[in-house]
Amino acid sequence: MNHTSHIIRFAVVLVAVIAGFFILRGFLVPDSFGVQGDYKYGYHRGASDAEQAALPALYTGSKKCAQCHAAETAEWQAGKHAGVECETCHGNWQAHNNNTKDKAGKDSSIEACLLCHGEVEARPADFPQIADMKKHVEDGGGAYEKGMLCVACHSAHSPQQ
């Protein structure tokens, strides 16, 4: 009499389960999955690269702005803020494109200027910084008033005046 039939039965069940796993795997693993370059750093779903590359870019750079705001751009290019992109101060183009009436990006408050020009010890010593508005105005030979804006004396786009 054969005394191993139960073992064979168990083996059949086991093999079925394992086979089931591999079949399932065949269906569920995305087609583009594989190795790009080496297995250590390049094992992934190939389609992911293109998906991420296709995301929209919100910031476009000053060339875009120049298309419609030639005057501001010209003024900006001639001034000391020429190294500062329009979008650094005005926010990204995409938000503007959605709603040109939105004025949130046009911030002429003191705080907006002091974000860069406020005096902070950690800033490079040669970067122009303002410790105190009142003192600054009086140093410049002006008369200080409460609520005075930086843009009252400086053009935001070409601030050396």
Partner: protein
């Protein structure tokens, strides 16, 4: 009830919240119990420690029950539990974690096989004696094969032996691997030590033996049956032996860190002083280590009355269970409480409710015992002395 995160010093802004929560503490804890329980059953099956016979089946089923729930904490933790099988579908074997699915499955199969072969005579006996739906259940469990002849059982026994022999390295791999998960992360000075897998393995074995002692004792009290003192004594001996190794390694690790005083030392010192004082200094290396170490020594070496020995042994086992839990907590949570800038500490306290809360942890930890209970309804975990007398 929400815990205010208290930070101290500077942390990278993404590090404020502790990522690996209570669930990840529970995961190595339960996995460790598996390894320990399996080792005990192997001591009987492979190494022929006859005195462990009373818990041989129980420990095997305990290993299985804990194994069934070893992964569940992870599922509660994962951002996308529905994608959990990606780890087996597209394994990236450079990752220490990727092996888990396969090691776990392999080990599960080994344990299942072993249980099946060990319990086959019981299944067949019950299939023959029961009726109706239960008979059908036993028939399915037996896979329709009612061969309990001498020859068949002989083959079964041989296979059991082989399986147990395969099981031991698998159990060690499974748990050593969990330690490696942490030990291999060079970015974290609290984790990154080659001792980590060994410490995890030793504490796993220790906690597994301890939980067997405690649950065996409790089950026997509930069943109103006398405990087998020889069996317990043997488990105390093993517990003590493994605990000495475990503790030595843990202290060695601590000592090496203190002595070497590398760049990370000052933050590690702050960590143990300000954040882990209770769970590390007091629990893990303090009372929950010192007492079992000394008392188990007496229990093992000195002759004393069974009652006293069992009381002491039980207390030590419970303390060791706490010690190992504390160790898991200190490793997993502790490793995330300090910044990788080595300049600051954050804090963590699990919530009571919630996906990764204490309640879920308690439920998950109770489930293996429910499984054992149900298993016992279907198949006997313990040789019933009364039955033997009748038969």
């Amino acid at each position: 009830m929400l815990h205010e995160i208290v930070t101290q010093g500077f942390l990278f802004p993404n590090e404020i919240e502790v990522l690996w929560s209570l669930m990840i503490v529970l995961y190595p804890y339960i996995t460790g119990l598996v390894a320990g329980a399996f080792i005990v059953s192997s001591l009987y099956h492979v190494f022929g420690k006859e005195e462990l016979k009373p818990v041989a089946k129980f420990s095997l089923v305990a290993a299985f029950a804990f194994l069934m729930f070893a992964c569940t904490p992870l599922l509660f933790h994962l951002g996308h539990p529905e994608r959990a099988f990606n780890i087996m579908f597209t394994p990236h074997f450079y990752s220490a974690m990727s092996g888990f699915g396969y090691i776990y499955s392999f080990y599960l199969i080994v344990v299942l096989l072993e249980i099946w072969f060990v319990f086959r005579p019981d299944i067949i006996a019950r299939a023959k004696s029961s009726t109706g739906i239960m008979k059908a259940l036993y028939w399915v469990l037996a896979l329709g094969s009612m061969d309990d002849s001498e020859e068949a059982l002989h083959i079964d026994h041989k296979i059991t032996l082989v399986l147990a022999a395969i099981g031991i390295p698998s159990a060690c791999t499974l748990h050593g691997y969990v330690g490696f998960l942490f030990g291999s992360l060079k970015s974290n000075p609290w984790w990154s030590t080659p001792l980590m897998p060994v410490i995890f393995l030793m504490s796993a074995i220790v906690s597994g033996i301890a939980i067997l002692i405690v649950s065996y004792y409790i089950v026997m009290v509930i069943k109103k049956q006398p405990v087998d003192n020889k069996c317990l004594k043997s488990m105390y001996d093993f517990l003590w032996g493994f605990f000495i190794i475990d503790l030595t390694l843990e202290l060695l690790n601590e000592l090496a860190s203190i002595y070497a005083q590398t760049q990370s030392y000052s933050i590690i010192a702050q960590l143990t002083e300000h954040r882990l004082q209770f769970s590390y200094e007091i629990l893990q290396l303090g009372i929950c280590s010192a007492i079992p170490l000394v008392v188990l020594g007496f229990v093992s070496l000195k002759t004393m009355s069974d009652t006293l020995r069992n009381r002491l042994g039980l207390i030590c086992s419970a303390l060791i269970l706490i010690q190992v839990l504390a160790m898991r907590w200190n490793v997993v949570v502790g490793g995330q409480l300090f910044s990788k800038s080595l300049r600051g500490l954050t804090s963590y306290m699990p919530t009571f409710l919630g996906r990764e809360g204490i309640l879920v942890a308690v439920i998950l930890f109770t489930m293996p015992f429910v499984v054992m209970y149900v298993f016992n309804l279907i198949l006997p975990l313990f040789e019933n002395k009364g039955d033997e007398a009748q038969g």
